[in-house]
Subunit: 162 residues, 2 copies
């Protein structure tokens, strides 16, 4: 059921405002994944570095809180959730896919389906720490654990896509 | 804030009852991932079949609804979410890891870290369809799309772990 938020604003409006306020964060993440050079001597190191930054960005406490807020309200306000998914989540994945296409064009990755590759990159890295945070109500990882998720995830990604 | 559910039961109790009621489903998923034979002539086909069943099980509308319910209440009732995570999510992953260890012992997979392999298997398959459902408020996939997620996910998994 729609409720009311602080100062009597409808909860839907409140959620919409919070989602809008994170546009800068999403821009930042899209910039992050667009920035990988395709002509580097060390593509594996660059991707490992991206993996660690990607994990850091998506496991920030306020990003996880926003994620829970949108999910919790998605059946009541499906358009809001859909909008967040398309303008946030999918935009970052599309930018990552464009980066992977660029790397593939330069022979630094092997894929003729860059969007599934971007989906796999994200899922390999984020599935465990994001779920842990979602179900426990707060982030559960240490920095060392994020390092470990990044190392394991990128090893699997490179084994499949290099 | 804790609220009340139908018939005046505290929302926490209601969520706890729903989580308990899904024990059978979790048993079913654990059975599913334990059932892969390690001496088959066609390990790749078996894993592809498991991938498709795994996707079907975790994208059932009622499983996704329960998932949203637990996530939405996780900051108010963190013990409940933690319990669901450990008894549900982690139990299935531990069973899958035991299966991968068995396959590795028989030379059908290459991994000396079966739990990260199980995490990767799950993340490759579930990250996109589960997120889509979470943010849109309902499942968004067709059966053909689940087939496609399974095919793409298992191809990447086998490229890394075979």
């Amino acid at each position: 059921m729609p409720g009311t938020g602080p100062r009597g604003r409808p909860a839907g409006q409140l959620v919409a405002e919070i989602v809008l306020a994170t546009t800068d964060q999403i821009d930042g993440m899209a910039d992050l994944v667009a920035r990988i050079p395709a002509d580097a001597d060390t593509p594996e190191e660059n991707l490992a570095h991206l993996a660690r930054q990607f994990l850091a960005a998506f496991t920030q406490p306020q990003v996880l809180q926003l994620r829970r807020l949108v999910i919790a309200n998605a059946d009541t306000f499906p358009e809001l959730g859909a909008n967040w998914y398309e303008q946030g989540f999918e935009r970052v994945l599309a930018t990552l896919a464009a980066t992977f296409q660029r790397l593939a064009d330069h022979g630094q990755l092997q894929t003729d389906e860059p969007l599934p590759a971007a989906n796999h990159f994200s899922g390999l890295l984020l599935w465990i720490p994001v779920n842990k945070a979602m179900f426990h109500g707060s982030p559960q990882h240490t920095e060392a654990e994020l390092d470990h998720y990044a190392t394991a995830g990128i090893r699997t990604f490179l084994a499949a896509y290099r």
